[in-house]
Amino acid sequence: MDVALDRLIAAANQIILGKERQIQLAVCCLLAKGHLLIEDIPGVGKTTLSHTLARLFGMEYQRIQFTSDILPADIVGSTVFDTHKQQFKFHPGPIFKQMILADEINRATPKAQSALLEAMEERQVTVEGQTYALPQPFFVIATQNPTNQIGTFPLPESQVDRFLMRIELGYPSRQAERELLAGQPRHLLINALAEALSPAQLVELQQAAASVYASPALLDYLQAILAYTRQSPDFVNGLSPRAGLGLLAAAKAWAFIDKRQAVLPEDLQAVLPAVAGHRLNAGSSDSVGIVAPILAQVSVH
C-alpha cells in the first residue's frame, strides 16, 4: 500500500516539476478526506495538478469551469419535464462525480459558489425538495485566482473553511521551468498516466491514516495553537473547532505519508499553513506568512 502511495507521488512529481511539497500536501488532503483549494495566478499549473491527481487516484473526473454566468442548476442539475413519460425527471449535474475540478471558482457569482460549497459540506444535493446523495468518495479540488483580480467574487469567509487546505503553487524554479519547456506537453503525459490507486485502496489508506496515534502531549500542542489564534490580536477570527479537527486529520495523514505511526509536532507545523492560512486570513494568499507568528510563539514543550 505504502509502495503504491510512493509510486503515486513519484508519478505526480514527473508531471508537475519542482512542487514536491505542494503535491505531498495535496495527497495528504485527500487522505484526510478533505477538499482542496488551489490558489494562484493563471497558468502555473493548477489545472494540471488537479487533473494529475484525479487520474492517479483513478476516480471519475469532471471539470466544471466556473464563469460569471454559471447557474446553480448548471452545477447540481435540474428537473426537466419529460414529454414522453409526462412527468418531471431529474438530470444530475456535473457534480455527480467522484472528483470535481472546480476551475476558477471565484469567477462565479456567490450563488453559484454557494451551490458547490453546500454540496461539499453536506455531500448531498437538494433540488426542489428532493435530496440526491453524491458519490463516495467525493472530492472537490477548486482553483481560484488571487482575489485582487478584476471580475472576481471572493469566496465568502464563512464558507471558505469547507476546504481543508489551500495551497499556492507559485512559479516554477529555473531548472523545473527548463524541463517543462524541453519536455512533452503536459496533457499528453497526463493522458498516458495509469491509475496508481483504486478507490477501494484509497479508502483503506484513509482509514490507516486516521488511525495514526496522536499523544496527549501532541493534543496539548494543538490546543495551544488553537488557543493562540483565538487570543492573538493578529487574527480577526481564531481557528474554529472544525479547523482543529481538520488540522489533526491533516497532520495524521502527513505523518502517514512519512511512514510514521505517531503524529509529531513537526507534522502539525507542516500542514498548518495549508490548513490554517485561508481560515485565518482569506484575503491574503501568503499562508506561510500568516501562520509564521503561531509557529514562532506557541511553545511545543
Binding site: Y213, S215, Q261, A262, L264, P265, I294, S299, V300
Partner: protein, 650 residues
C-alpha cells in the same frame, strides 16, 4: 434566578431527603411517616411529570391535613416526638412546593434540622456516620444548585471535600466551645424510654428474661489489674422482703439503719465505671465500694445511687475493696431479714435439722447446705419448668433445676427458717474482658442474684449458691453471643480462651472499643468533662478560652487556606524536565532554536551545528519522541533518556 430546578437536582434532593427521614420510620408514628412517604413518592413521580404536582389549593388542603395529623398524634408541638413529627411533616409538604432556588434552600435547611432530631433518638457511632453521609448528599444538592452544568460525581466530591475540611474545625469547636449545663425541662422528658434491667422486684422469671439480652449495662476500666473472676460481683438492689414467689427491696423509708460503718481491709481496686442509660438511679459498683465521687451515695444496703438523671450516660471514678466487715446488725434489721411468708413446712424444717446436724453454728449449716446443692443432683438451667405454687418447696424437693434466683431464694429461705439473717442481692456477675480496649463489658445477660448472710463478727457475708451448682457460671461468665445464637438458655460450660477467640470476636471487641471511646469522649462529653479538660490545658477563664478558640480555629483555617489557595504548581513531567536539560545543553553548545521548534527540527539543527554529537542527539530525540508522542513507551525509556542526556558532553 427563579428558574425551575433541574431534574438532576430534584433527584439529588429527593434522594437525600428520603435518606434523612428513613431512620425516623422506627419512632415517628406510622401515620406521620406514612404521610411523609406519600409526599415523597409524589415528588419522585412528579419529577418526570411536573403536571401531577398539586396546585395552590391542593397544597393548602394537604398542609391542613398534615398539621392536623401531627397534632392528632402528639397533641402539641413541644417535646421531642411532637417536634420531630412536625418537622418531618413539614419537610414532606415542602417537597411538593418547589418553585425556585429559595425553596430548595428551605428544604435542605429543614432536612438538616430533621437530621439533628435523629440524634435525639439514637446516638450510636453508626447513626452519626450515616447522618454525615446524608449531610454530604444534602451539601451536594446545594453544590448542584449552584453549578452551571451540574455533574453528579464532582458535586458529591466537592461536598465531601467541604465536610472533610470542616471536620477539624468542628472538632475544635466541639471541645472548646463553652458548654452550658442545660436545665432539666420537664416537658421535654415526657416521652418514656423503656429500658430493660433489674428492678426493685425480683420475680422468678425476671433474670431469665435478661439472660438473652446482649444490651450493655456498663463498662469498667480498671487502673491496674482486674480482680479475679470470683470477686466480680457488681452490687445492685438488695431484696429482703419475700412473699413466697417474688422478692422486694425494703422501701427506703422503712429501711433499718445499720449502726456501724463498714470496715475495709486488704487491697482496693480503682476503676472508671461508665453506666449506659438506666431506668433506676443505681450504680453497679464492685463489692464493696469504699470511695466514690460526691454525686454518688452509698445507702444502708451498701448500694451506690446517683442523683443524676439515670437516662444519661455517666462516668464515675470508684474504689472498691473486696475484703470488708460491715459490723453489727440492728434489731430492726435482724427482724427484717428473718421475715418469712408464713411458717415453713415440715419438710423444710426436717431438711434444716438434717443439714444443721448436732452443731448450731451458722457456718456449718451454710457449708452443709451448699454441699447439699452440690451433691443432690441439682441442675442449673435458665428455663426451668414454671413453679407456680410453693415455689421453694417444689424447687428443693421436686424439680431441683433452676437458675441463680432460684438458688438464692431457696438458700435465703432455708437460712431464715434456721433463724439466721439473710437476704438476696441483685446485680451483675462477671463481665467480658475486651482485650482491645482493655475494659470489662457487663451486659444484661450477666444479671445475677446471690445471697448475703449476717454472721456474728463478720457482718454481711456474700454466699453464692449458684457457684455450688455451676462454678463455670462464676468463673467464666456467660457467653452471651452463644446463648443468643442458640436461643436456648441452658447453661453449659463453654471453653473460651485466647486461642479460640476468632477474628470475628476480635473484630467485635475492636468495635466495642470504638463504641466505648465514642460513648466516653463524644456522647458523654459534658460541662464537667469540659471543665476538667480545659483545666488540664491551663484554661481557667473565658478570656483564655476565647484566645484558645481563636487561635486554634484561626490556625486550622490558616492551614486550610494555605492548602487551598496556594498557587497551583505545574505538574512536573520528568520526561519534559529531562528534555529541558537537553535543550539547555544544546543552547550552551551554540544551537539556536525557539520555543516553536519540535524535537526533530531541533535535532536537525543541532546536528548541523555539532556534527560530532549527531549520534547522541539522534538517540535522545528518538527516545524522547517515543516517550512523548508514541503509544506504548516503556518504563525503561525514561531511564535511558536520563542517562543519555546526562552523558551528553558539550
Amino acid at each position: 434566578m427563579n428558574a425551575l430546578p433541574s431534574s438532576r437536582l430534584l433527584w439529588f434532593m429527593s434522594g437525600s431527603i428520603g435518606l434523612i427521614a428513613l431512620p425516623h420510620a422506627w419512632h415517628v408514628p406510622p401515620l406521620l411517616i406514612g404521610f411523609f412517604g406519600l409526599m415523597w413518592l409524589w415528588r419522585l413521580l412528579a419529577i418526570a411529570r411536573p403536571a401531577w404536582l398539586p396546585n395552590r389549593w391542593g397544597l393548602f388542603a394537604l398542609t391542613l391535613a398534615g398539621i392536623g395529623l401531627a397534632f392528632s398524634q402528639h397533641r402539641g408541638v413541644f417535646g421531642r416526638d411532637a417536634g420531630t413529627g412536625l418537622f418531618v411533616v413539614a419537610l414532606g409538604l415542602k417537597l411538593l412546593e418547589i418553585r425556585g432556588k429559595r425553596d430548595v434552600y428551605v428544604i435542605v435547611y429543614l432536612a438538616f434540622v430533621v437530621a439533628a432530631t435523629q440524634f435525639l433518638y439514637e446516638e450510636s457511632i453508626l447513626m452519626a456516620l450515616y447522618i454525615l453521609l446524608v449531610c454530604t448528599v444534602l451539601l451536594a444538592t446545594l453544590v448542584t444548585q449552584n453549578s452551571v452544568s451540574p455533574q453528579t460525581v464532582p458535586a458529591l466530591k466537592t461536598a465531601a471535600t467541604l465536610i472533610v475540611q470542616a471536620l477539624p474545625i468542628a472538632m475544635v469547636l466541639f471541645v472548646l466551645f463553652p458548654r452550658l449545663e442545660a436545665p432539666r425541662w420537664s416537658w421535654l422528658d415526657a416521652d418514656n424510654q423503656a429500658k430493660s434491667g433489674l428492678s426493685d422486684t425480683l420475680e422468678p422469671g425476671s433474670i431469665a428474661e435478661l439472660s438473652l439480652s446482649a444490651e450493655l449495662v456498663f463498662r469498667v476500666k480498671f487502673d491496674g489489674d482486674l480482680p479475679p473472676p470470683a470477686q466480680r460481683y457488681w452490687r445492685g438492689p438488695v431484696y429482703s422482703l419475700f412473699d413466697g414467689s417474688a422478692w422486694k427491696a425494703a422501701p427506703a423509708l422503712f429501711r433499718a439503719a445499720n449502726p456501724d460503718q463498714p470496715a475495709f481491709g486488704g487491697r482496693a481496686y480503682d476503676y472508671t465505671l461508665m453506666m449506659e442509660p438506666q431506668k433506676q438511679n443505681w450504680v453497679f459498683a464492685l463489692e464493696l465500694p469504699s470511695a466514690f465521687p460526691a454525686g454518688l451515695r452509698r445507702n444502708e444496703l451498701y448500694q451506690l445511687t446517683t442523683n443524676k438523671n439515670p437516662g444519661d450516660r455517666a462516668e464515675y471514678r470508684i474504689s472498691s475493696t473486696p475484703a470488708y466487715n460491715t459490723g453489727g446488725i440492728s434489731p430492726a434489721e435482724r427482724r427484717e431479714n428473718l421475715q418469712l411468708p408464713g411458717k415453713p413446712s415440715e419438710r423444710i424444717r426436717n431438711l434444716i435439722a438434717q443439714l444443721r446436724g448436732t452443731e448450731a453454728s451458722p457456718e456449718v449449716l451454710i457449708a452443709n447446705l451448699l454441699q447439699h446443692f452440690h451433691r443432690e443432683n441439682f441442675r442449673y438451667t435458665l428455663n426451668p419448668e414454671p413453679m407456680p405454687e410453693r415455689q421453694v418447696e417444689t424447687f428443693l424437693f421436686e424439680r431441683r433445676a433452676g437458675f441463680c434466683s432460684h438458688y438464692a431464694t431457696a438458700f435465703v429461705y432455708l437460712l431464715r427458717a434456721a433463724e439466721i439473717p439473710a437476704r438476696v442481692v441483685g446485680g451483675y456477675q462477671g463481665g467480658r474482658f475486651n482485650t482491645v480496649g482493655g475494659f470489662l463489658e457487663v451486659r444484661q445477660a450477666d444479671a445475677h442474684a446471690w445471697a448475703e448472710v449476717w454472721l456474728d463478727g463478720k457482718g454481711w457475708v456474700r454466699f453464692d449458691p449458684t457457684a455450688a451448682i455451676a462454678p463455670e457460671r462464676i468463673e467464666q461468665s456467660v457467653n452471651v453471643d452463644l446463648q443468643i445464637a442458640s436461643g436456648a438458655a441452658n447453661f453449659s460450660p463453654i471453653q473460651l480462651d485466647a486461642k479460640t477467640l476468632t477474628w470475628l470476636q476480635r473484630g467485635r471487641q475492636l468495635w466495642q472499643n470504638v463504641d466505648y471511646q465514642w460513648q466516653r469522649w463524644v456522647i458523654n462529653y459534658d460541662t464537667d468533662n469540659q471543665k476538667a479538660l480545659l483545666q488540664s490545658l491551663g484554661i481557667d477563664d473565658f478570656v483564655k478560652l476565647g484566645y484558645w478558640l481563636l487561635l486554634s480555629v484561626g490556625g486550622l483555617s490558616g492551614l486550610l487556606a494555605w492548602r487551598l489557595l496556594r498557587p497551583n504548581r505545574r505538574r512536573r513531567d520528568p520526561v519534559l524536565l529531562t528534555y529541558r536539560q537537553f535543550c539547555d545543553k544544546l543552547r550552551k553548545a551554540g544551537v539556536d532554536f525557539g520555543p516553536g521548534d519540535g524535537p526533530q527540527t531541533l535535532a536537525q539543527r543541532a546536528k548541523t551545528v555539532r556534527p560530532d554529537l549527531a549520534d547522541a542527539i539522534d538517540r535522545i530525540a528518538a527516545v524522547f519522541i517515543r516517550l512523548r508522542y508514541e503509544p506504548g513507551a516503556e518504563t525503561g525509556d525514561l531511564r535511558t533518556l536520563k542517562t543519555l542526556v546526562r552523558g551528553l558532553r558539550v
